[in-house]
């Protein structure tokens, strides 16, 4: 935020500024594959590299002797994910546990960016000539759907691999209503197909929107807290009311940061956990 009374934006301008992406072109329509959100891609790749770099550093120094603190921390994460996956997923898969670890760590890093001072990186970007910058990748629909659609493709892949294409498609007609008489089953099949297909498609959508909604709301609250002290700049500190407002915004900022930290960790965990649950369902027969 620019602390000058003369150039202070209106609340509306401030909010719009904060929810506008740094893009190559203004998007036309709801879906436009000629547009790229540079900021989301940048932070997504940066945090992905941070995750891989951290774990690679730990892995390269890993020994079967007495582990250090850093190695302990990484092993704790790996072990928790591994045991969680073993509880939920009963098949043999080399993919599921690393997938869950990647999702949890990556999404957690996304969400932790929400705790950086709201204007720090956008203002820094402004100073070097970028008009907009959205920092938290998990508040970008493209990012969350990028994750959930990949998971969705894996669900389909696992289902087809385990049950065959026919078995996979047959499940839509055979659930949730299952009758012993073939004719009865044929009668309820249309109903089954509608219900099952809806719940099948709901998985990636709910997976993505749950994370997106929580993180976007968290960011919105930070923006609203920042609005309290939007106008007035340093001149505000000349009055008692201005001081009071500043203190209130600081206290609210701290409280919401703690809450958002909790939400961010929880949502990362839920995303990873549901991924494992969906994939274990996909690879199990419902006979």
């Amino acid at each position: 935020m620019v602390p000058s009374a003369a150039t202070a934006p209106t609340p509306n301008e401030y909010i719009v500024h904060h929810i506008t992406y740094l893009t190559n072109a203004a998007p036309r329509g709801l879906v436009d594959f000629s547009v790229v959100n540079y900021d989301s891609v940048f932070f997504s790749v940066l945090l992905g590299a941070l995750f891989v770099g951290t774990f690679y550093t730990a892995a390269r120094r890993a020994s079967d002797g007495v582990p250090g603190k850093f190695q302990n921390f990484v092993e704790l994460l790996v072990e928790k994910v591994d045991s969680q996956v073993k509880d939920l997923f009963h098949g043999q898969s080399k993919l599921i546990a690393p997938l869950a670890l990647t999702i949890f760590c990556w999404v957690l890093l996304f969400n932790l960016l929400d705790l950086l001072p709201l204007d720090l990186l956008p203002d820094a970007a402004n100073a070097v000539g970028f008009g907009h910058l959205r920092v938290v990748p998990s508040t970008d629909l493209n990012i969350v759907f990028g994750l959930s659609l990949t998971v969705f493709l894996l669900i389909i892949f696992y289902s087809v691999q385990m049950k065959g294409l026919v078995g996979f498609l047959a499940e839509f007609a055979l659930n949730p209503l299952r009758l012993s008489h073939p004719l009865g089953q044929a009668l309820v099949a249309p109903f089954n197909i509608v219900v099952e297909f809806a719940s099948f498609l709901a998985r990636p959508v709910s997976l993505a929107l749950r994370l997106y909604g929580n993180m976007f709301a968290g960011e919105m609250v930070f923006i609203l807290i920042a609005l309290l002290t939007l106008s007035g700049g340093f001149a505000r500190l000349a009055s008692v009311g201005g001081w009071g407002l500043t203190l209130v915004s600081m206290v609210l900022g701290v409280v919401w940061s703690l809450f958002d930290l909790f939400i961010g960790a929880l949502q990362a965990f839920i995303f990873a956990l549901l991924t494992v649950v969906y994939l274990s369902q996909a690879s199990e027969h419902h006979d």
């Binding site: 436009d32 989301s40 891989v52 892995a59 790996v78």
Partner: protein, 156 residues
């Protein structure tokens, strides 16, 4: 707020990250962990075996100690018995020797007393013969009257 190429890029990046994690990171981290837990299991088993060995060795040592104590006890008892025997033996030998010495001394005394008595008798007989010769004023031939003198000696 729209869906754009970012979605595709994110999917590709995601796939690459998962592949890296699955192919490299996961085995690199989990391998040493499994190796360590195997080592720890081996160590615990070795410790358990060591403790069992120790307990067994202690039991063996106890048995050996017990045996040694019993043996020592036996030896001491035997030695005491032997000492007593030797003592008794020495005592009886000593007392027998004493008895023997006493008897020899008594014998000696008796012999000497007999000799003294004999010599005294002879002197008395001599005296008596001399006295009788004086009384008869005639030399009594000692040889001719030897048998007489012997009779006299025996009478005294």
């Amino acid at each position: 707020m729209n869906i754009n190429l970012t979605l595709i890029i994110q999917m590709i990046v995601f796939a690459i990250l998962v592949w890296i994690t699955m192919r490299f990171l996961w085995p690199m981290i989990l391998g040493p962990m499994e190796e360590r837990s195997r080592k720890i299991a081996l160590g615990l088993a070795a410790a358990e075996k060591g403790q069992q060995d120790l307990a067994q060795a202690e039991r063996k040592a106890d048995a050996v100690m017990q045996e040694a104590r019993e043996r020592a006890h036996q030896i001491i008892e035997q030695a005491q018995r032997r000492a007593n025997e030797l003592l008794e033996h020495a005592k009886s030998a000593a007392s027998a020797e004493g008895q023997r010495l006493l008897a020899a001394a008594q014998q000696q005394i008796e012999l000497e007393a007999t000799q003294a008595r004999d010599s005294l008798r002879r002197d008395i007989a001599q005296l008596a013969v001399e006295t009788a010769a004086k009384l008869l004023e005639r030399e009594i031939d000692a040889r001719t009257h030897a048998d007489l003198i012997e009779k006299l000696v025996a009478q005294i």
